[in-house]
Symmetry: C2
């Protein structure tokens, strides 16, 4: 049974909601979508039956709904920063206008290789009030129960019901639901902190060569440390697959859409990221949670959230991201390679990174910059007339004009139209592998009143045209009133704020600066290493009003400058205070930094330039 | 420059040609498609520029045209009996009416993973006067230069320019153009016969476990025989990849089309079959050649030709197929599984064999049979109303009616509309791994005046609902006036004609017979083992007028009956002669064979029933 309701009070409701307020509410139970049963095919039938309709809400009575790949709709899909493949989909939401999935507090429980939610070419979609989990996650948790310096081995104990495995030809295979993963990417977690163990990179197992193991009793496996440090007894070795099959199933994939809202949605696992959005305008995440279930240490195989080539505003408020095996959020564009100039303003372009293959780089009307791949600085702007996709990697792009003296050197292109503003407020990102936030966008960025406690850099403003090809020298970033708690417990020169393009040996700083206008204001930094910021090629940098407090949670380290400037211009470092350290924190600057003001800092000491 | 010509003599030309006689001839050189250069993108532009036009001929001035995957158009494609994937295509011929590719004697030389020719949804297409080759083939040829009984090893010498390899962690990787193949499927060839060596299955290397090798000098590799016989010095070990990446690139793929003609086309290599056609009506191959180049022993990685779910007539005349690593021709349908009855005449079906995933099983209007998966005999016929594809494997099919008493047991479905007639005349199939011809179709079949010399069965009329799921119990087959030369040099009970469904232990013969009306007439059989035919579950079988002549080319073998009948009915075995054997050839029949006439055979002896 469907019923339509017409909201007479629409005028009283804020306008952002009103477009979805008049619509049809469908109780999925009326269409055979029932808790405890395989909901995949009945839900597909229901979704197909409302194709082309607008302002639909699918309401799930609270329960646990099961989804399996067997009868799921499938499509070959490129998902940026994931592994492209035929994807079977739980919610294939294609081309809807204002569709809402209201889980009513339900759990959507997936089995095997399936992509829970795909939002493709939708104008207005809201996901709310549900959680996404898998019966068996995409990683294995191996408790370290013995280690032995004498023979350089350690032994893990495995709950074989939850993490089944076989040992074949001396190598361990983790049996998933329809495939098996060899021992691959791995990291040691500390159950006491529910985080990567301090200095985790010294542990782990090198899997670039075959990892030979020995069965020890019915549920124990002995590893050779292969020259790495032996993980402590009580720690947990996490292994999570190999390229290119470790990122096949993101929980939520959003592409070519606009006005997407995710509200009160929890993701407990994913064979990839919890949420990946590409070429989408306006995404709001409100009370989105990524965390592990109580019986697992780890949540998703990859990032909590990731935004590539989006525009409008990416807004995250009151979210909690923890226990994932990669960054909390990453916002960037893509540098694509120019392979060949065909004449007549036509280029053969190539998506640079294999995990971005299939990305829609540009469409007619987009503004693009042509840039040197040596300096990574643009020299020409134009707009796109036509794009012909040849294959996952390559396309032919026709632009309005090219300079008369097109340089012969290696060139790239960057889409200037698709960079979003970013607002992050009152979020917590912690206890994960890697960074809290990576931000490279030319839009306006406000990161205010968040809590960050990441193993690697807190906020990484990078941009590179060499490895990940993540574009977006920033223009206007404010990072204020946040708490950075024990950032960098992987050890080393790891900063709450690192702002620097990543250059190859063949690449060099050009005449200009890569990043502009970064303000790091009034943050509280609880720190075992006293580090605040390292910056390079930034013009317009303010580090002011921050309070750094010593923390004894991890081993103290005074090896690196607290604030470390390289080739920066127009810098103010003022009114910062450091307390509780047994030494003054160092402010260093390179000889090619210019117009640097350092004043009124307490507990800091500026090195002579 | 294009010019149009209007053929005033169209009425004088046979009607099959006339539809293509009025049309436009395009010299590809006028569109930048030039010998010696990468033709891929210029040809794509040309093909796209004539999209939607009819009666087009693309004329290639004689030369060697190069094709590479870099700038090739790509599509995710399911290719039956191959490995589905994103395919980059040399000639993406989609939706044309009467298109002709006239190579003018050219060589189309491919590089890497690319599908040379794809004919999809075309009505009328002719390929003629060219050859297809790759700069580097999809297999490696390893000359056996030493063997050593003492340590059970043999050593191969490799031309590293042609078959580059690396040895990593004690295993050999063959470097292809963009990927590497581990040591996988393998077979030993005898360069003297240009064929698989006699009894080849006793050699080869078991690769179900890691194959450890030793580098011996700069271009030699030592293998352990792992319990197999040591291949003789002078033989050549062929290795050709592993599942599911060994069949990505068929040379010619034809799908959902009609009236396709391939004439004077030679295929020297392919990462799969030379020609695979599915759901296509009327395919004619005239002087198609599959062979190896003079510096290789082996041609394609898989069959020369293969036809799945076709109709009309499959006609092969004056073709030569040799040196391929699988069958010469295979014609069949597909048994699909019924997974679930949804009610209302709707079933969830599943393509049974993974290498058939993506096959279009049926479309509205097709007649289908529902059958028991135990007896493999049909019990109901109906027609298809609707098909909804869920994913590569599964679909929902709605039929007109189902029996009131639908059995609960395991059921299958078979498409009765899409079985072709087959005409094979004056073809040669020889010196290949596996069979000459597999024929399971309900259409009329004439195999006349061909030369067959295959390592396994000559003509295999099988059908199975257990392993390959190849459907099509035959109705009318005539095999006449052919030469079968030294068939079965793999050794064992291998016959010029084997007609028998393949049943699992759980499957059983039903009330009826699976195959009907097979006539094996006036063939000449040069034979080292005296074998003629083994048949099972055939009603209406004539073996008459055949001459079996002893051949000393391979070791004589009198172990098996020359004619071996199991559960056959209405059989005539008459007027056959055997000469040159030192014993009478045996005719055996099972107790459940009925109505068997054995008369006027010379050199044969019927065993008592």
């Amino acid at each position: 049974m469907k019923f339509k309701w017409y909201c007479l009070l629409a005028l009283l409701i804020p306008s952002a909601l009103s477009s979805q307020a008049v619509g049809e509410e469908i109780n999925v139970a009326d269409h055979g979508v029932l808790p405890g049963e395989d909901a995949t095919y009945p839900l597909l039938r229901l979704i197909q039956s409302v194709e082309g309709e607008s302002n639909i809400t699918l309401v799930f009575p609270k329960g646990t709904y099961r989804f399996a790949p067997d009868n799921a709709l499938e499509q070959f899909r490129a998902v940026t920063n994931h592994d492209n493949s035929l994807k079977r989909m739980g919610f294939p939401l294609f081309g809807f206008q204002n569709i809402t999935i209201d889980g009513g507090g339900s759990t959507f429980l997936y089995h095997g290789r399936i992509s829970p939610i795909v939002i493709e070419s939708c104008t207005g979609a809201t996901l709310k009030n549900f959680s996404i989990d898998w019966d068996h996650p995409f990683h294995s948790e191996l408790a370290v129960v013995e280690n032995n310096e004498d023979d350089d081995t350690f032994t893990v104990e495995v709950d074989r019901d939850r993490y089944p495995y076989t040992i074949k030809h001396g190598e361990v295979l983790f049996e998933r639901d329809g495939w098996s993963d060899p021992f691959g990417s791995n990291i040691v977690f500390d159950p006491k902190t529910q985080s990567p163990i301090y200095d985790t990179k010294k542990y782990g197992v090198n899997y670039s060569k075959p990892v030979k193991v020995t069965a020890v009793g019915k549920n124990r496996i002995r590893f050779n440390a292969n020259g790495r440090a032996l993980p402590p007894v009580g720690s947990v070795l996490i292994t999570y697959g190999v390229n290119p099959t470790s990122r096949l199933c993101p929980a939520i994939h959003i592409a070519n859409s606009s006005d997407i809202r995710v509200e009160n949605v929890t993701v407990y696992a994913a064979g990839g990221m919890a949420l990946i959005a590409e070429r989408t305008e306006n995404v709001t995440l409100e009370r989105m949670v990524v965390t592990s279930t109580s019986d697992r240490l780890v949540a998703t195989r990859a990032d909590a959230t990731h935004f590539v080539g989006c525009r409008g505003t990416v807004k995250l408020e009151n979210c909690l991201f923890e226990h994932m095996l990669d960054d909390g959020i990453n916002v960037h564009g893509a540098y694509v390679k120019i392979e060949e100039y065909l004449g007549n303003n036509r280029f053969i372009g190539a998506i640079s990174h294999p995990q971005q293959w299939g990305l829609m780089f540009a469409a007619p009307g987009d503004r693009v910059a042509i840039l040197s791949r040596e300096t990574v600085l643009p020299f020409h702007q134009t707009s796109v007339e036509e794009v012909e996709v040849l294959n996952e990697e390559r396309f032919v792009v026709t632009v309005l004009d090219v300079p008369d003296d097109l340089p012969a050197g290696p060139l790239s292109m960057e889409n200037l139209t698709w960079y979003p503003d970013v607002v992050m407020k009152h979020n917590t990102i912690r206890q994960n592998r890697a960074r809290a936030a990576l931000i490279t966008t030319k839009g306006k960025v406000l990161i205010d009143s968040n809590y960050f406690s990441s193993q690697m850099h807190g906020i990484l403003i990078e941009g590179d045209n060499k490895k990940w090809y993540e574009s977006g020298g920033v223009q206007d970033v404010t990072i204020s009133n946040n708490v950075f708690d024990n950032i960098g417990f992987e050890g080393g020169a790891v900063y709450p704020l690192l702002a620097s393009p990543l250059l190859t040996d063949e690449q060099r700083m050009g005449e200009g600066h890569f990043h502009r206008n970064i303000r790091f204001l009034n943050n509280t930094i609880r720190s075992f290493n006293g580090l605040v910021a390292q910056t390079r090629s930034v013009s317009g940098l303010t580090i002011a009003g921050n309070a750094v407090e010593f923390s004894s949670d991890y081993p103290a380290n005074s090896e690196f400058p607290s604030i470390d400037l390289h080739y920066c211009d127009d810098v103010q470092i003022v009114d910062n205070t450091a307390t509780g350290f047994d030494h003054a924190l160092t402010i260093a600057q390179s000889a090619d930094s210019t117009d640097v003001e350092i004043a009124d800092n307490v507990g800091f000491q500026a090195e002579s330039k």
